[in-house]
Amino acid sequence: MQSRTVELWVGLFVALGLAALAFLSVRASNLAEYRDGDAYTVVARFENIGSLRVRAPVTVAGVRVGRVAAIDFDNEQFKAVVKLAITARYDNLPQDTVAAIRTAGLIGEQFIGLDPGGAPDPLKDGDEIEITQSALVIEQLIGQFLYGQAGKSDKEGSK
């Protein structure tokens, strides 16, 4: 084959490969998130984070405003310390905002939902969210339900 045709094909091939890579990085991954890097961090402590993972979304009213940047364990209070990276645009969240760990669907991924309170001062970088609500652990719920049932049948039995 003519060397010009060969070169043209190779050029097309390389372009196609790079386009595929670009498609993967922009459309199928979180690379875009790294770009809008301006974010401030707030900390929240939870009794139990369930299966929350780093990079899980942080939402307000269902709108994604940031993501979980890091998860750590506080060795003194025995609580999970979750660092939330919130996009700099959303800098008006009140200080008494409540952070709750929620689950998308019945067994979907866990995320953090923020419910803004009414305090006049906004959260700033490094602040801590005081009021938190832990993840709902299904095993505990089932356990409570079973204990409840057992208690009920005991009472019925003693009558």
Binding site: F13, A20, G108
Partner: protein, 260 residues
Amino acid sequence: MIGPLQGLGARTLEGLARLGRAGGFLLPLLAAVPAQFLAPRRLAKQVFSVGVLSLVIILVSGLFVGMVLGLQGYNTLVDFGSESSLGIVVALSLVRELGPVLSALLFAGRAGSALTAEIGLMKATEQLSALEMMAVDPFRRVLAPRWLAGFISLPLLAAVFSAVGILGGYLVGVKLLGLDPAPYWSHMESGVDFFDDILNGVIKSVVFGAVVTWVAVFEGYDAVPTAEGVGRATTRTVVTASLAVLGADFLLTALMFGEP
């Protein structure tokens, strides 16, 4: 009793000797690589025969693998009511594992066997000796460009494979089975990490490209210079390269994704 034992010993020694030859073969191959960038046209020709000619099989396989993943993933996830996670299932399995590995296996079958046959034939018709006679280094002129072309081509082919596969999953999941397109893409975006998943997939495919073409070029160079010898070498390339890819995949996966 002595006969089979002796056969086993002979085969082990032969295998070890081949491994040693393949290792020794790598050094002059590596040494000849820098010179290739001085002759980009020769390299382009090899990228054409190794990469461009493998494109059709990669495109078709990628599309169908993605479509099957979409179908199977949907049928499994719908039982748990989490069919909206289809995008991330398809993307992660393609980007991390299936894209690099299946492309490498197809590449071994399509390009690797062709390379071995070509080089083996050159050896059988004494073209390699003729080059040496003319003081042209066959490593520099024949072997290294083909090896390097594998390095360059396979990552691109694997990226094409994954991208087409994700589109195939989209086609089946969203267009055929009626899933909502928004969660397909948004779950994928939030679940696939660029550095952890996509970049590791690319690194994998670079290693696979090097391994497959190394095996192919070595088998061609080491082939018994007869029609039968070249045929055997070609078969051996596909078997050895495929096994090497699967072994390397296990090692690389354990290294990259082993710890949480």
